[in-house]
């Protein structure tokens, strides 16, 4: 970088005005991390380089000007909207970075109920878009746990997935077009069409780029009819995950498309379902939705599949519907969780991977056993599968540990990264993917070359082609 910290701030102020360049020390320090190092914010102990500024972008033109300025002077920028990232993608890896915050670009530009698509600026919270769609009897079909707080730009940038993915797909199945700004300030728009065979699908250069290639300013996503009155919930208890995975596979292979299809291991089930499940029970659950005939046929089909497994014991569906209605995390739950950590030093972390049906149970068993045996101070190690496909499923490892004998700044090195390492190693060993939906961020870059294998060439070339000066979110996806 050829500019001083002060010169970076002055340059940004010239572009967007002084009010939209935040240099308040507390904001900058908090913005140096995301949820990957959440303990640093909870205990106010910070170790990451402090950004030079958070700049609030209010238009595509401003984003282009900021990226042009950054590219010219070699300033590292970190694109951000809802700031809910969990894998270090929003960490400032180098000093005097600039966080481009798109949360003020928060207009819903259209809800087109005839062509069944909605266009929103990057800073529109998904909850806001979903609520507006529902006013017209429509839904985005996207419901990540972060729905109340995550914004559209970030959701597309991190290749997010929602709780109804088995029916509606991940965000990559929903985005029909978008606008993004690349380093140097080049604005690109990908038009909204149902499908095209005009060469490679360039949406996928942008979707999941985690701010390492471009800044997403606008997205257009599909809409679907919303029939909540037909939602049908189904639940069973069973004694082992292997059977649970097998049932999920049979449901998928039979062609049924429930919106929710999950199996919880006993540890994870204990957090949600101890009022009806025994401590050693796994819990299998589904939601069927859609038009009346589809929801009914889906529920009946699932019933028939599970009936062939007498070891599964059906539970009252209201246990499942009641649980489901309280699943999303808004600011209230996040604040309560932070307070719990502050008092108990007991930390909850998650790591999600995917693999084919042949491997998923082995990965779950092997990784869980190693976490319990190799990592100290574990208070719970478990997980669930929550997104299934014709050829495999995901595993969402959910684990808690007490931080003992080290400060909050060392939590990642003593506990979190070693656990991620175990999960990644056991997954890669069996041909799975080390990241199902949270993104690589900076946390999982040590394993990204092995994740890609020979196709790492394509990823690396994309980075060099679109970000030749390396100003986009240094250290994210591509190791620093």
């Amino acid at each position: 970088m050829d500019l001083s910290r002060e010169a970076v701030v002055e340059g940004l102020q010239r572009l967007v005005g002084p009010d939209d360049v935040i240099t308040d020390e507390a904001v900058l320090v908090q913005s140096s991390v995301d949820n990957f190092r959440k303990l640093q914010n909870i205990f106010d102990v910070h170790t990451m380089p402090v950004p030079a500024a958070v700049v609030m972008a209010r238009s595509t033109r401003q984003v282009a000007e900021i990226l042009s300025f950054a590219d010219e002077h070699g300033v590292n920028v970190i694109p951000r909207t809802g700031a809910t990232a969990t894998e270090g993608g929003l960490e400032s890896a180098v000093a005097d970075s600039v966080i481009i915050d798109g949360s003020a670009m928060n207009q819903i530009l259209s809800i087109d109920a005839y062509n069944m698509q909605a266009t929103a600026q990057c800073g529109v919270p998904l909850q806001v878009l979903e609520d507006r769609a529902r006013e017209q009897g429509l839904t985005t079909g996207h419901s990540p746990q972060s729905k109340p707080v995550a914004h559209m730009g970030g959701l597309v940038a991190t290749r997010s997935i929602g709780q109804f993915s088995t029916l509606y797909g991940g965000i990559e199945d929903m985005v029909v077009g978008l606008e993004a700004v690349f380093p140097g300030g080049r604005v690109t728009r990908i038009k909204n069409v149902p499908r095209r065979a005009a060469g490679p699908d360039i949406r996928h250069v942008v979707i999941g780029n985690e701010g390492a290639l471009c800044f997403i300013t606008e997205v257009t996503v599909k809409l679907f009819p919303y029939f909540p009155e037909n939602n049908t919930f189904l639940g069973w208890t069973l004694k082992d995950m292997k059977t649970g995975f097998e049932v999920l596979r049979e449901v998928m292979v039979s062609g049924y498309r429930p919106s929710v299809a999950r199996v919880y291991d006993p540890g994870d089930a204990g957090l949600h379902f101890s009022h009806f499940a025994e401590p050693d029970d796994c819990v299998l659950l589904f939601m069927a939705e859609g038009a009346p005939g589809i929801a009914k046929a889906t529920a009946e089909g699932i019933d028939a599949v599970v009936a062939a497994h007498p070891e599964c014991t059906q539970v009252d569906s209201r246990y499942i519907s009641t649980w489901f209605n309280d699943l999303c995390w808004g600011p209230d739950k996040i604040t309560a969780e932070d307070e719990r950590i502050r008092q108990t030093h007991n930390v909850n972390r998650t790591t999600e991977i995917s693999a084919d049906w042949s491997s998923i149970n082995e990965i779950y068993q092997a990784a869980r056993a190693r976490i319990v045996n190799e990592i100290p101070d574990i208070t719970m190690a478990g997980g669930h599968s929550s997104h299934s496909y014709i050829n495999g499923t995901n595993m969402y490892f959910n684990y808690f540990f007490n931080v003992v004998g080290v400060g909050p700044e060392e939590e990642t090195t003593k506990y979190y990264l070693p656990i991620i390492g175990i999960i990644c190693e056991e997954t890669l060993k069996r041909g799975g993917s080390i990241v199902h939906h949270h993104g690589i961020g900076k946390a999982r870059t040590p394993w990204v070359k092995e994740e890609y294998g020979s196709s790492y060439y394509i990823l690396e070339t994309l980075k060099h082609a679109y970000d030749p000066h390396g100003i986009m979110n240094k250290g994210t996806i591509i190791p620093k």
Partner: protein, 280 residues
């Protein structure tokens, strides 16, 4: 010198936060006699009891640092749903864990609950100090701690926020009172009803802790064991739910105008704060 015996009585309640407004209204409209249907929501520790359980552990730790022995016991009046919590407490170092499973629901029956707790403290546990939350969830009368103290003939302090050891048979207690914080030195035995304490979260046992203490027994005690005829006591306390009514908590909102944060702050100051400050 024998160890000081501390008993904490706790309640496992439905997670009322997980109920939607529609669930409350359904209870009000269709099933007032039975109340709101809470069977399907997960269970949580009553928050005041959670404070009491952690305060007792901290008191035990602090006493150990001074060379005083402590023997912790946990009691819950409730069914199978209390079992995972009792196991957790055993893993955390509670030496004794028991539940009294009443043959009928004890909603709106604080005197019966108090008789059970007092009976257990004297007949089974031989406690020196009893901690419990000052109240539990909706529908709770907040009278159980007083009634227990009455039955035991012990002094009772309410809205307890902190407990520290002083001597082997004394504790120093901080309680919230109307105009501040009251610090009292107490000679045991006594009942402490824990209020809105800063310590609100129970520590979490490791899997190793759980494994090490997995064989410790959870006692299941009946009312008869404690000399309490629960059915007869309940018939003396015929308190039933008559109805439920929603409270309109909607508040008027104003969206402050202005193009920049500075303009919005100015508008907020001019319209809402300026006049209030002028009155000071």
């Amino acid at each position: 010198v024998s160890a000081l015996r501390i008993l904490v009585s706790f309640k496992v309640t439905p997670d009322f936060e997980a109920l939607r407004e529609a669930d409350w209204l359904a209870g009000a409209a269709h099933d007032a006699a039975r109340g709101v249907e809470t069977r399907y929501v997960r269970r949580v520790l009553n928050c005041f009891d959670e404070s009491a359980l952690e305060l007792a552990l901290r008191l035990s730790d602090a006493r150990a640092e001074r060379g005083f022995a402590t023997d912790l016991g946990a009691l819950s009046v409730g069914g199978r749903e209390t079992q995972p919590y009792l196991k957790t407490l055993v893993a955390l170092g509670y030496e004794r864990a028991a539940r009294v499973e009443p043959e009928a629901a004890l909603d709106f029956a604080p005197a019966v609950t108090a008789s059970i707790i007092a009976g257990y403290a004297t007949r089974v546990d031989h406690s020196d100090l009893l901690l419990l939350g000052c109240r539990s969830g909706p529908g709770d009368s907040g009278t159980v701690p007083f009634l227990v103290a009455e039955e035991l003939g012990w002094p009772c302090l309410t809205q307890v926020l902190e407990v520290e050891p002083l001597a082997d048979d004394r504790v120093r207690v901080a309680c919230m009172v109307d105009d501040g914080l009251l610090r009292v030195t107490l000679r045991l035995p006594c009942v402490l009803a824990v209020g809105n304490a800063v310590v609100s979260q129970l520590r979490v046992p490791t899997l190793t802790d759980r494994l090490a203490r997995r064989d410790k027994r959870i006692d299941v005690v009946s009312g008869a064991d404690l000399g309490v005829d629960i059915a007869r006591e309940l018939s003396r306390e015929p308190c039933v739910l008559k109805g439920l009514e929603g409270i309109d908590r909607a508040r008027r909102g104003v969206i402050v105008g202005g193009a920049t944060p500075r303009e919005k702050a100015r508008a907020l100051f001019d319209s809402h704060l300026k006049s209030a400050l002028e009155k000071l």
